[in-house]
């Protein structure tokens, strides 16, 4: 999928992605010549199709996690399918606020370990010492984690 600014006959460039949280997606593209901006708006089914491909419009800011699509999308996964044993312990891991921990507990355990790692990596990369629900919301929007 590409966008063409007809007036300028130039390919438009990705500018910004937004995930309102209702299953829809908005991606803005801008003409490099005239500055005109258009937005691609997808319905939940179309958003799901994009997510099914394992890609994030606008690019990833964190590497893909192992079995990311399976763990994020399978609704009937067993709670004890994975163990975090073997994950390398790291220094200076950010703290989790009680509210954020509570929210993390609501994530199905099938995918919880992966979700926790994604948010932890995000906080570490941004120098955030404590993960709060607000940080989770920001990370979720920035990283395009519609399914998390």
């Amino acid at each position: 999928m590409k966008f063409l600014c007809v007036a300028c006959d130039r390919q438009m460039l990705f500018e910004e992605r937004q995930l309102p949280g209702d299953g829809t997606l908005a991606a803005a593209f801008k003409c490099p010549a005239c500055g005109r901006v258009v937005a691609l708006l997808t319905n939940p089914m179309e958003t799901q199709l994009v997510a099914s491909l394992g890609v994030v419009i606008g690019g990833r800011t964190v590497p893909a996690q192992p079995l990311e699509t399976v763990r994020g999308m399978v609704a009937t996964g067993r709670d004890d399918a994975f163990t975090d044993n073997g994950q390398r312990k790291t220094e200076n891991a950010p703290m989790w606020s009680p509210e954020a921990q509570e929210r993390l507990q609501r994530v199905p355990s099938f995918v919880r370990g992966m979700v926790k790692k994604v948010y932890t990596d995000y906080a570490r990369q941004h120098g955030i010492p404590e993960i709060t629900p607000a940080v989770m919301d920001t990370a979720r929007a920035e990283l395009g984690l519609e399914a998390m």
């Binding site: 500018e15 394992g54 994030v56 990833r60 192992p66 609704a75 067993r78 004890d80 399918a81 044993n85």
Partner: protein, 264 residues
């Protein structure tokens, strides 16, 4: 008014969406993960109920007994059976950085299967809008197959067997995910009905230039009559590698393993 629009392919520049780069990274991840695999073989049929998974599991075990490092990827996402056939329990899979460790079955066969991830007795159900789910369900299953290939720490293997479900859809997905379509081992039962269905699958594989390694005729000398194995072998000029009786012995599988080795 008719606009003079350029076409998709005429817009050759990058648009900062990052999509081509991500797709390329996915392919690269699969390639790199399978770099330690000597041979990749798709076990397919095109016909359900001919014993593909049964043959795959026992072939893998025979190869392992012969000293080969073997893995089985259960590509039947909706009807996975490989863990039971390989005696794999449902212990949690370790998740070291960057990969999932496969389960280990009898004779040391490595195994990855959707069965290891699903609740007991639950169907494979995806989150998301259920209306028009046919649009995205196939893409999600292909993504699962890609992740089983690229995100599982298969390590160094002499052979990775891909146990495909009935039909040819999963084979086409494999052909898209891998640099080249994998060699195919075909399983049939003796009946003409099976022959007709399996013929289509072999034709599909041949049309994609996948090497056809040979035919295994399963469930012979029993209730089923016919010559499907010999017919298909002759039609496609491939060896009839084995005729598996109703009650095979370990020797049956050892011989198939040897035959497969000599057909490379």
């Amino acid at each position: 008014m008719s606009l003079n629009l350029r076409t998709y392919h005429e817009l050759a520049g990058a648009d900062r969406s990052g999509l081509p780069e991500q797709i390329a990274a996915q392919r690269r991840r699969v390639t790199e993960r399978l770099a330690g695999v000597g041979r990749l073989i798709a076990v397919m049929s095109g016909k359900g109920g001919v014993g593909k998974s049964f043959v795959t599991a026992h072939l893998a075990r025979a190869l392992a007994r012969a000293g080969r490092a073997v893995g089985v990827l259960d590509a039947d996402l909706n009807g996975p059976t490989m863990p039971r056939l390989l005696g794999v329990d449902h212990s949690p899979l370790p998740t070291p950085d960057g990969a999932i460790e496969p389960a280990i079955g009898v004779d040391g066969v490595k195994c990855m299967s959707m069965d290891l991830l699903l609740q007991d007795g639950a169907p494979l159900t995806f989150r998301g809008p259920q209306a028009e789910s046919f649009v995205w369900r196939g893409a999600l299953e292909a993504a699962a197959l890609r992740e089983f290939l690229g995100d599982v720490a298969w390590g160094a293997l002499d052979m990775l067997l891909l146990d495909l479900p009935p039909g040819i859809q999963r084979f086409h997905e494999l052909g898209d995910l891998l640099a080249t379509p994998p060699p195919v081992l075909t399983v049939t039962i003796p009946t003409p009905e099976s022959r007709d269905a399996v013929r289509r699958a072999m034709r599909a594989a041949s049309d994609r230039s996948a090497p056809l390694l040979g035919v295994v005729e399963n469930m012979v000398d029993g209730h089923f009559t016919g010559t499907a194995g010999a017919d298909l072998a002759a039609e496609f000029s491939v060896p009839l590698l084995a005729r598996i009786p109703w009650h095979p012995t370990p020797d049956t599988w050892d011989q198939l393993a040897q035959q497969l080795g000599s057909s490379a």
